[in-house]
Point group: C2
Chain length 338, copies 2
C-alpha cells in the first residue's frame, strides 16, 4: 500500500510499504476513508521526538473494514468504523473503569496517513456507524479518532461543571475541541487563550465566550481580571510544554484541577505551588474508546461539529505539504484523502 | 507567657515570650487547653526547613477564648474552641468554595505549643463546642485543629469512594487519620503501608484491612498483589518525600488520584508516568475549617476517635522531650498540657 513515512526531521514521504495483515485473530484491517495530521505528529517532524527512519506515521483515521481476524465477531467487511488511535480490548479492568488508553492489551494505529490500517483488539477498539455516513459527516467523525476525544478528556479531567468558568490553553485542534467540550459540559464562561485570529474566530464559533490573546504574565493577568481575581474553575491544558503548564496552574483557582492532554515535553510540575494553592492535575492520554459512543451521538445529532477544525484538505499523496502547512501554522488541521 | 521556641536544629526551648495581643479587631486570644507536636514541626527540628532563631513553634491547639477584638461577634470569653492551624475569614470566594486554607485573609497559629494563641479572623476561623467538653474528648478535638482534618483532606482529594480500595502511604499521625477517613468515606479495603508494629496495630484499629510493611519495589509489588494487579482506586500520600510520592503513583490504578497532604520536600513529580497512566494528583494544605463541623460531629457522636494517635502526653514544659520522642519515633504524636 501507499503510506506516509518519516525519515528524519522534516523528511515526510509518501511511499510504498507492505500491506498490514491480520497478525492475530483479534485484528482487523481497515481501508482508510479519511486520515489526518495530529499536532503530536509535529513533535517528531520538528525533531523533538526520536524517529525510526522509514517508519509509518499517523494515528487518526476512519474507514471501511476490509478484513477481520477469526476472533472478531462485532465487525464485518463493509462496516464504516471510527478507529481510536489507541486500541483496547474494552474488557480489562482498566477499560471497564473507563481508561481504555491504559488497556492491558493496548495497541496503536500505526498507519493512519495511509491506505490501510491494522486495528488490534478490533472488537474492543472499533465503533461503527449505522451504514455509510454522509460525506459531510466524515470530518467530524474523523475527529473522534483522537482530537475531539482528547479535548473532551481535558474537559472531563479538569472537572468542567455547569455554570463554571473554563480556561482553554492551546488553540490547536485539541484546544479548539476542548472549547466544544467545555461548552457541552455546561461551562458558562469559556476562555480561549489564543493569539491567532482564525483560531480565535473558530474558538468563538465553538462556544468560547472570551478570548485572551496575551501569554505568560499578561495572559494570567487577563484571566484573573476576567474572573474577578479568583481564577478559573477548570483549566484545560492542551499544549504540553512547560510554559503552557505553568500558565495553567497560575490561572486555576484554589481547588481547581488542570486537565492535561498534551504529551508533556520538558514539563516540570510546580509541586509546591500545587500544594499551597490546592490545584490538582488530572488527565493524560485520552481514553478515546470510552468517550466514543457519547461523542458519536453528539455528532450524529448535530450538537457538535468538530470537523470544522479541518481548514485544509489534501489528497493523501500531498501529505508532506500538509505537514508544512501545520508546522508553519498556515493550517489548523489537515484532512487527508487517500 | 511561656511558650515553645526553636533556636536551631534540635534546639527546642520552653521560655518566656511576650503575650500575644489583639492586633486587629477581628483577632481573638485563646488560652490553650491542649497543644501538640506535628510531624511537620520535625522539618525545622531536623534542620530541613529554615529557622528564625527564637521564634515560637506549634500550630495545633484547642482552648478557651480569653479575649476578643471589637469585630468578633460569634465568640466570647469562656467559649471552648478548636483552632484550625490556618485561619480564614470563611467568607472570601476561596473559603466559600471550601478552600479555607487559601483564604485571601489567611493567617496562622503561631504559638500552638504555648499558653496563649492569637487567632486572626476569629469569627471565620474558630469552631466552638456546646459548653466545656469532657476531658476524655480533648485529644480527639485537638486532632481536628490539623492532623485529622489533614488525613481527611487526603481521602477527599484522592476521591475515596464507597466500595473501593484506598492505600495510605505514611504511618505518622496524618496517615493514621487518613485510615480513619478512608474508612469513614466508605472504602471497602484500606491498605496501610507501615513498617512499625505499634502503628500497624493502630492502623488496624482505625479500620485498615491490610498492612504492607515493605517499601519501594517490594511495597508496590505487595499492593499490586493485594489488588489483583490493578492498583488502588485512591492513594493517600501522607509523607511528602520524593520516595513516598513515587510509591504513591506506582500503586495507583489508571484513572486514580493521589491525594497529597504532606508538604512536599524534594519531590519531583513523574509527569510522564502520570500522563501515560492517567493518574492525577490533588490535595495540598488542608482546608481544616471547611471540614470542621462535619468532623466535630463525628467525634461527638463517637463515630471516630482520632485522639488515639496521641501515645505520649507531657506537661508543656517538657516539650523538648516530646520533640525527641517523635524524632526518634518513640512516640507517634505527643500531646502537651500547659
Amino acid at each position: 500500500m501507499r503510506a506516509t513515512t518519516i525519515h528524519a526531521p522534516r523528511d515526510i514521504r509518501f511511499t510504498e510499504v507492505p500491506d498490514p495483515t491480520i497478525e492475530k485473530p483479534t485484528d482487523a484491517i481497515v481501508r482508510v476513508v479519511a486520515g489526518c495530521i495530529c499536532g503530536s505528529d509535529l513533535w517528531p517532524y520538528r525533531g523533538e521526538n526520536a524517529i525510526t527512519p522509514g517508519s509509518t506515521i499517523g494515528h487518526e483515521a476512519v474507514g471501511v473494514v476490509e478484513e477481520t481476524g477469526s476472533d472478531v465477531s462485532g465487525f464485518a467487511p463493509g462496516d464504516f468504523v471510527i478507529i481510536p488511535f489507541c486500541h483496547s480490548d474494552n474488557t480489562c479492568p482498566h477499560c471497564r473503569a473507563g481508561f481504555t488508553s491504559v488497556c492491558t492489551n493496548q495497541g496503536w494505529t500505526e498507519s493512519g496517513q495511509a491506505e490501510l490500517v491494522r486495528v488490534t483488539q478490533a472488537d474492543g477498539s472499533l465503533v461503527k456507524t449505522d451504514g455509510m455516513p454522509d460525506s459531510s459527516l466524515i470530518p467530524s467523525l474523523l475527529t473522534l479518532s483522537d482530537v475531539m476525544a482528547t479535548g473532551w478528556h481535558a474537559a472531563v479531567a479538569s472537572r468542567v461543571r455547569p455554570g463554571g468558568t473554563a480556561v482553554v490553553i492551546g488553540d490547536g485542534a485539541v484546544g479548539l475541541c476542548g472549547v466544544i467540550a467545555a461548552k457541552e459540559l455546561g461551562a458558562e464562561r469559556v476562555v480561549a487563550m489564543s493569539r491567532h485570529e482564525p483560531r480565535q474566530r473558530l474558538a468563538t464559533e465553538f462556544g468560547a465566550t472570551d478570548v485572551v490573546a496575551e501569554r505568560d504574565d499578561a495572559g494570567v493577568e487577563a484571566v484573573m481580571e476576567l474572573t474577578g481575581g479568583i481564577g478559573a474553575d477548570a483549566v484545560l491544558e492542551c499544549v504540553g510544554t512547560d510554559q503552557s503548564m505553568k500558565t495553567a496552574f497560575r490561572v486555576a483557582r484554589p481547588g481547581a484541577t488542570v486537565g492535561f492532554v498534551g504529551a508533556p515535553h520538558g514539563v516540570e510540575l510546580p509541586v509546591r505551588q500545587m500544594f499551597v494553592r490546592n490545584v490538582g492535575l488530572a488527565g493524560g492520554m485520552a481514553p478515546v474508546r470510552a468517550y466514543l459512543p457519547d461523542l458519536l451521538e453528539r455528532v450524529l445529532d448535530g450538537r457538535i461539529d468538530p470537523g470544522k477544525v479541518f481548514d485544509l484538505t489534501l489528497p493523501l499523496d500531498q501529505v508532506a505539504e500538509g505537514y508544512r502547512a501545520m508546522d508553519e501554522r498556515r493550517a489548523i488541521k489537515v484532512l487527508l484523502q487517500p
